[in-house]
């Protein structure tokens, strides 16, 4: 049997890619480790290596084909004595990668479909960004990924202020582990885009020191899981210096990077720190969902004279949203955004949590529930007035986040709402969070450990007594 060479998944979140180039032709002999093709994902150009030896029988997908789904057979590898004609696999039409994907049979495809990657990446959400009162009416909108929006925000602020610089692991020459700093080294040079060794505690402290001296560092953590190495400098040095110095000096610094679960990266790489940092006086904590908020709030964060925790999410990086085309688009820190006005129930979320809410909305509409969705955007200082005003209108509240349940952000919101709007509540507040377990690796358990759309729908119905 000829061996099918499949379109490989080359990162935890990859679903499809462009087969940009074949480096071998039909009839070429290959051995294990030979590079046979190049594929492009939204993050990088990758090489496909042969994992077996044999002769390339047929190339099933033409070079240049876009949107080739993971696990689509892209070529046949013939073993000793086999001929290409004997290969029964249908030749996929290169122009219709969907058809090619359909021809994928067997276990591999089922398994891929089962992975949370497929389940977790929501279809391009439609967000009415123009409805944000902080954006002038009639502003032109440009579809932009969260990744690009973050990069643009940093580039604009670096052009504007020579004291702004970026440092972190792989931010310069590698262009960012998740390609958020793409192009910055080329534009700003290695004085302002600084690759560090893998020494988080050290470079976080160096950043805080530089900020105390008046520079405006953007410190990228490859992920916030690694900022646990640095959390002492973030909290004891960055957050407290202004107070301890009687207002003489603070630390105008942004700590940013992906936060929370990605896909199947296990217990040590999947933690959500929103609740942790939200506890600390002296910090501001931002966790955007849309590309527009990512851009407008990152620019605000860089200009802010305080230490800021800016929590991004790997799964959101590749998602596209409208971003207003303005010369200088800066959003206010600490102001929630009404994502969808409604009258029956208030749903509060932020960051990746919003993806569950957005999906739940469709179902809730079917059930005739008119939900008001508030995207907090900033966790600290929190726009509690916006939440309370909404709850006074709807009388019901559900919060949604991925972090651990005990002492969650939702717990804090629920507590404040019962203090300040007790008489308005028609039902107990439900706080949806991740499960009270370290993140498991197994696909089925990971899915269970995270919140899901069904839970959101169920909770909303429960507080509406439906």
């Amino acid at each position: 049997m000829p061996v099918e060479i499949l379109m490989p998944a080359l990162s935890p979140t990859m679903e499809e890619g462009t087969l940009s180039k074949w480096l071998k032709n039909e009839g070429d002999k290959v051995t294990s480790g030979d590079v046979i093709a190049e594929i492009e994902t939204d993050k990088a150009t990758m090489e496909v290596e042969a994992v077996d030896e044999g002769v390339i029988g047929k190339l099933l997908v033409a070079a240049g084909t876009e949107n080739v789904k993971v696990n689509t057979p892209i070529a046949l590898l013939l073993q000793d004595g086999e001929s290409a004609d004997a290969a029964a696999a249908p030749k996929a039409d290169a122009d219709t990668p969907a058809a090619a994907a359909d021809s994928t049979g067997g276990k591999a495809r089922e398994a891929a479909a089962e992975t949370p990657v497929a389940a977790k990446v929501p279809a391009a959400p439609k967000v009415d960004v123009a409805a944000d009162p902080d954006i002038p009416a009639g502003t032109e909108m440009v579809p932009t990924t969260v990744r690009e929006a973050l990069r643009d925000a940093m580039a604009e602020e670096m052009r504007r202020d020579p004291d702004v610089f970026v440092m972190g692991e792989e931010v310069a020459e590698y262009q960012g582990a998740y390609k958020i700093t793409q192009g910055l080294l080329q534009e700003f040079g290695d004085r302002r885009v600084v690759d560090t060794p893998i020494t988080e505690h050290g470079f976080a402290g160096v950043g805080v020191g530089a900020a105390m001296a008046g520079l405006k560092p953007i410190v990228e953590f490859m992920t916030f899981n690694f900022a646990m190495q640095a959390i002492d400098q973030i909290i004891n040095s960055a957050a407290k210096t202004l107070y301890m110095s009687g207002g003489q000096m603070g630390a105008p610094i942004v700590f940013r990077g992906p936060n929370g679960a990605a896909a199947r990266v296990g217990a040590q790489h999947s933690q959500d720190y929103a609740a942790w940092y939200s506890q600390i006086p002296g910090l501001k904590v931002i966790q955007p969902y849309t590309a527009a908020d990512a851009k407008g709030l990152l620019k605000a964060a860089i200009r802010d004279p305080n230490p800021i925790i800016f929590l991004e999410n790997e799964i959101l990086y590749g998602q596209t949203f409208d971003v207003p085309k303005l010369d200088d688009f800066v959003l206010p820190i600490g102001k929630a955004r009404i994502h969808r006005p409604g009258k029956d129930v208030t749903i509060v979320s932020w960051g990746i949590g919003m993806t569950y809410v957005v999906k739940a909305l469709a179902e809730l509409e079917k059930d005739g529930i008119d939900a008001e969705v508030i995207d907090l955007r900033t966790i600290r200082p929190m726009d509690l007035p916006a939440v309370i005003e909404s709850v006074k209108k709807t009388g019901r509240l559900v919060t949604v986040e991925e972090g651990f349940p005990q002492s969650s952000v939702g717990d804090f919101i629920a507590n404040r709402v019962q203090q300040e709007a007790f008489d308005y509540l028609d039902a107990p507040v439900i706080t949806i969070a991740g499960k009270d377990v370290p993140m498991p690796y197994a696909a089925n358990l990971e899915k269970l450990a995270l919140p899901n759309v069904g839970e959101v729908v169920q909770a909303v119905k429960a507080v509406c007594y439906k």
């Binding site: 080359l10 990162s11 294990s32 993050k43 590698y174 893998i198 690694f226 040590q268 499960k435 377990v437």
Partner: protein, 347 residues
């Protein structure tokens, strides 16, 4: 790095007075059995990792997957010097260490696919696997963390006054983390029996050693506090074994910690999603064709007439069968029962 068949252990004076005692000659000459054992074990790691890469591409393995291809001689050579009760701990590039410690290919592969037959019941994944039975303490995803933990394993040996040693493996990138030096100091202060094995594969993700480290001789990282160090050709399993013998003797004699800098190379990207654009194809090709640890042993076996091509092919087939069996098992084994979500959190 020494070319094929002419490996050497170069040692140098460090802060320790006794370094000469364990600065042996270039290599340990292997007998036929040792060569065959090294060949087989390195090949098992190589084929296992190739298969893991393949399963990753097919979506059976998720998350991060860091392959050990190219570095096989390090762990196989070190393991040859150990005795019952010695402990091993490493980072996330750990599949090779597990196989070398005797953990089953099925158990490792099923953990990679997140199935119930995996060594952590599918709950740990590629980066987080453990075996109490084999004295393998993980499998750690946070760069540098295993260095302090490995020092703690040595602390326990010293506390119990046994003569076991612990092996703490870490990368050239990890070697810059602060806790590494905090650990070095305690280990030297308390004369803990720990071997720090720095697997210098020249890159930490996309950063070459020279771009991240002010001093690139990692064997000297403990000099100021009297920890001796050896620089070793980590592509030659005999050189690794020679250094391992010396280091183990040093630790068992109660002389405290020692650093072994293994000069090695990873052929693949950092993880499956690394396009590895920071180095040239020629550089990789040169290492593969001139320094491959498995090819070195194979050449010696054939040259000395210790094995025929056919005998080596039979070993290949045997190894392939083990790997294929592990892959079949890892795909067919069911996912963990959903009740496992809430187990193993507290006792």
């Amino acid at each position: 790095m020494a070319s094929r068949n002419t490996a050497s252990v170069s040692s140098r004076k460090t802060g320790s007075k006794s370094i000469d005692e364990f600065a042996p000659g270039a290599i340990v000459e292997f007998d036929r059995d040792q060569e065959l054992k090294a060949y087989r074990e390195m090949l098992l790691i190589r084929r296992f990792e190739e298969k893991a890469g393949q399963l990753y591409g097919m979506g059976f393995i998720g998350g991060f997957c860091h392959l050990y291809i190219g570095q096989e001689a390090v762990v196989v050579g070190m393991q040859l010097a150990l005795k019952e009760g010695d402990q091993v701990i490493t980072g996330y590039r750990d599949h090779g260490h597990m196989l070398a410690c005797g953990m089953s290919a099925r158990g490792v592969m099923a953990e990679l696919t997140g199935r119930r037959g995996g060594l952590s019941k599918g709950k740990g994944g590629s980066m987080h696997m453990f075996s109490k039975e084999k004295n393998f303490y993980g499998g750690h995803g946070i760069v540098g963390a295993q260095v302090s933990l490995g020092t703690g394993l040595a602390f326990a040996n010293a506390y119990r006054q046994n003569d076991n040693v612990s092996l703490a493996y870490f990368g050239d990138g990890a070697a810059n983390q602060g806790q590494v030096y905090e650990s070095f100091n305690m280990a030297a202060l308390w004369k803990l029996p720990v071997i720090y094995i720095i697997e210098n594969n020249r890159y930490a993700m996309g950063t070459s050693v020279a771009r991240a480290s002010a001093g690139v001789d990692f064997s000297q990282r403990g000099t100021a506090i009297g920890i001796p160090g050896l620089q070793v050709d980590g592509m030659d399993v005999r050189a690794v074994k020679a250094a391992a013998d010396a280091a183990v003797a040093h630790c068992r004699d109660g002389k405290g910690p020692i650093i072994l800098e293994m000069q090695t190379y990873r052929y693949r990207g950092h993880s499956m999603s690394d396009p590895a654009k920071y180095r040239s194809k020629d550089e990789v090709q040169k290492m593969r064709s001139e320094h491959d640890p498995i090819e070195q042993v194979k050449a010696r076996l054939l040259e000395k007439g210790w094995a025929s091509e056919d005998e080596l092919k039979a070993i290949d087939k045997d190894v392939r069968d083990i790997v294929a069996d592990s892959a079949d098992f890892a795909q067919a084994d069911p996912e963990p029962d959903v009740s496992e979500l809430y187990t193993d959190i507290l006792l």
